[in-house]
Symmetry: C2
Subunit: 247 residues, 2 copies
């Protein structure tokens, strides 16, 4: 906190939108802030000799426990008015740090937005030293967000939608074995619209990127759907050209 000015690249931060999929819902990992009902995206600063990607990877490792994480830079947020200097100066005061006017945290910050795709069950949510909790929240039921984090989240989702045919989004978000309805719900959530069940299945199968397993998912009421897994080699090859047809 005191040495940050010497350690970090000045006026630069990053924020991560961490997506997970569970209970047939797209979720985002958020940090609950102290003394308010506000939530924040996991973020951090960039060491002076660190790449942006390394910094993001480090932050993501700390919040999720996952080392090898899929992430993509998607936008820079640089509005001069985006910083909440009052928050930082209050926080410094509480920490007993004399908040000189030119304290490194009180300057303007540009932030680089990253989105990350993780397998929900592999994550161990871990708060950082500015937060009191780290929890998954349903994408469509998110409370008050800090600063411009709502805007950052929105842009991340928009990017996810655009890259659906070019990034291994299903592969990174779903567990090894999943059902066709689960995959479809994921697509529907990201796209924000309903898709026809039968046409979805036909198209997905036509790509040749799925392997249908002998097993079915027992346990739910009604007919047990087959389990699928990705044929990773073919998936990646198909993504190079983009999944044809689009959604």
């Amino acid at each position: 906190m005191e040495k940050g000015g010497k350690l970090f690249h000045p006026g630069l931060s990053l924020d991560c939108v961490i997506f997970g999929f569970h209970d047939n819902q797209l979720k985002v990992l958020l940090l609950k802030m102290e003394h308010t009902d506000h939530w924040a995206l996991p973020g951090g600063f960039v060491y002076k000799d660190e790449t942006l990607e390394a910094a993001a990877t480090r932050v993501l490792q700390e919040r999720t426990g996952i080392n090898d994480i899929f992430l993509q830079q998607f936008h820079v947020f640089g509005d001069p008015a985006r910083s909440d200097r009052k928050y930082h100066s209050n926080r410094l005061k509480k920490l007993g740090i004399e908040a000189e006017k030119d304290h490194w945290l009180l300057n303007r910050f540009i932030t680089v937005g990253f989105y990350a795709l993780v397998e929900f069950s592999h994550v161990t949510p871990t708060p950082d030293n500015t937060s009191v909790a780290c929890e998954w929240q349903h994408l469509h039921n998110i409370g008050n967000l800090f600063m411009d984090h709502r805007q950052i989240l929105g842009k991340a989702l928009e990017t996810l939608r655009q890259q659906l045919n070019y990034q291994p989004i299903g592969y990174k978000l779903l567990p090894d074995k999943f059902t066709m309805p689960e995959l479809q719900t994921l697509y529907e959530t990201i796209l924000g619209k309903k898709l026809d069940r039968r046409n979805f299945q036909r198209r997905m199968n036509s790509y040749g990127i799925l392997r249908r397993l002998k097993e079915t998912r027992k346990g739910g009421a009604h007919k047990a759907p087959y389990l699928y897994s990705f044929n990773l080699r073919k998936y990646q090859q198909a993504l190079l050209e983009g999944l044809q047809g689009g959604w």
Copy 2:
């Protein structure tokens, strides 16, 4: 040069890839650097109270003379090794500025890449104070580029390709009146592949975003092609959904 440290956001720059279309070729506006055969993307720094977009707009205005320019942020380049500190320290020496070790220009810089689309004939190329010339270069015949500018250009082109169905790329790059073969060549250059002339025309017409004029383009050898202009209202409406089918 001396006061930059106080005026600008520290360790932050931006670089612009300015695309234009002329002589049936996609071109990029570059700056010729002094004393070398290297070229550089037009770039600049961000004032402490300026948005990134405003800074890019300012830079673009200075290099092209155009005020109302179309630009899009596309990527941040943050490799710690990307800066060429030797270049800056030499330059400072030549300018007679004592290059203290902690001179603001000698620190690590993160740069935000913007691409801009301009109507070629509206541009008045103007060098900045670090360059001896400002010229259009053919996209496929570009000389040595400074630092990581080749990589930045590559990423810009990749982004352009991805956004072809979502941004008014034809509208921003072509003059008010243009022929179908010109539009097709633009698409072919961006996509990097040949398209069937007749199918291209059919698809373009089916979008309903073009208005065929009564005039033809006389002067070239062979049959005179019709001139077209964009129906801007319909174009923009179609872009919201993305031009269907893709290329």
